[in-house]
Symmetry: C2
């Protein structure tokens, strides 16, 4: 990567645990290739420390923005001065930029990355029916982006019934034509089934949904990135489903982030090539 200097603009990357994050291996080689004096710097922050740390980091003169990952996406919402509708509905935020007046503005690109990836793979959103398992930050983000992309029906499952219920209510309020309700984790009858839980990160995790009920016409999307093909994606492939891996969602978000932070943007193809070369 380019050398970090006193002049380097920092994008802090906040999460806990921070060790597994992959974003620096995408952004930093991109900055280097284009001679952009900027760096994504991962920082581990415990949940209890997050509000004070976030505030302090944005007092730094050379911090322009933040990438936010687990477990801070939900807590971020209350710390913003302004945000997009996606943040409001999903009650989750994964990108923060400091505006010229010093205030913090939040965006949420998880869902948009997920939807862009599916669109690139030929999935047609208008009128589609979608199962989302997991109503946390990333599940909420995917739900909002699916709603904005024009799907007809969303079924939501979460072992935390209150989380699912709250998200159903917010979606129903913002997207009155959407048929949105809680669902069991059964993908039968859905055009799309998305895992938005952490299940699959650890060996021995149960599958997030009943894979035996996957029909070949159902598209299966995944948010877990610990391996290219999670057990869910392997099961889906075995049943003839088209799939989207967690890393795809990440790559699709990068051009959006770059633009959000005010950097020269890139195509997903360029970003993949740079990342592989590095």
């Amino acid at each position: 990567m380019s050398p970090i200097r006193g002049t380097t603009t920092l994008i802090v990357h906040l999460g806990d645990p921070i060790e597994p994050v992959k974003a620096p291996t995408v952004y930093n080689p991109y900055f280097e290739k284009h001679g952009i004096d900027a760096a994504v710097v991962p920082m581990g922050v415990k949940a209890a420390d997050y509000p004070a740390v976030l505030k302090a980091l944005f007092r730094l003169t050379n911090v322009r923005g933040a990438l936010v990952t687990m477990p801070h996406k939900v807590a971020t919402v209350a710390l913003l001065d302004g945000c997009t509708t996606a943040v409001t509905v999903a009650q989750s935020c994964n990108a923060i930029v400091r505006r010229p007046d010093g205030t913090l503005f939040g965006e949420l690109f998880d869902g948009e990355g997920f939807v862009r990836g599916l669109r690139r793979k030929g999935f047609r959103f208008p009128g589609a029916s979608c199962l989302i398992v997991g109503a946390g930050g990333v599940g909420s983000a995917i739900a909002v982006s699916l709603a904005q992309a024009g799907v007809a029906r969303i079924g939501l499952h979460d072992t935390n019934g209150a989380a699912a219920e709250g998200l159903v209510a917010r979606l129903a309020r913002h997207y009155p034509h959407l048929d949105v309700r809680q669902s069991i984790p059964d993908p039968a009858g859905y055009d799309l089934a998305a895992n938005a839980t952490p299940l699959g990160m650890n060996g021995g995790d149960p599958l997030p949904l009943d894979a035996a009920r996957l029909a070949p016409g159902t598209f299966v999307g995944e948010v877990v990135m610990s391996e290219a093909l999670t057990p869910l994606l392997r099961a889906a492939q075995d049943r003839g489903c088209r799939i989207q891996a967690g890393a795809d969602m990440l790559y699709e978000q990068v051009p959006l982030y770059l633009e959000f932070f005010g950097f020269r943007s890139a195509t997903v193809e360029e970003l993949r090539a740079i990342s592989k070369a590095g």
Copy 2:
């Protein structure tokens, strides 16, 4: 430099303005050469924000230490849980490490870097008489290290008489055999004259001391690093004096910092070679 990853140990480098700092160009190539997964990351911090920011940064799980530069070296002292005698006497701190119990321990390497550089150039400390112009953080650090190296006499000059007076008192208390007093900025009769003011950073600055009174036997040391040869050093060379540049003081400190932060240490020669190659 090595890619920054989620596993990378961070040493934050705090100052204002942060743009001119040079330390990352020394440390980061060193870490890369030796496969040490660590990075020095410069961060600009305004003085008013410094106490809260410092506390917050050390809450980050992957921050191991801090390099502190202007204008925060003095303010740091009150924020430490423990420190060396050099920090206490100089009332200045330029290195912080988080101990295993989470407390912050401070050191001060400016003076030691200055003294090590002079020793390498053959200057003999025992019994020497030394003029220091500037009784701020770095001047105080140099005074302490000269006292510890066994000089007999220190004359201190600062346009802020109270600063000079306080430092004289602290030195006298800790080093009872040292002849230490306030002085005019006249190097005549001194074995060593050190500029520890910012004079020389900006074109048009007056010289920090009366160079016409420099004798060829007087060693002249400089803390300003904006150029290899400051106007003071050029004047000293013209008068036949041996000199030490500000960058020398920086390089001499690096092995001390590396050891302090718990990294594999290096020789000054290796560090210079790596830095030039990068």
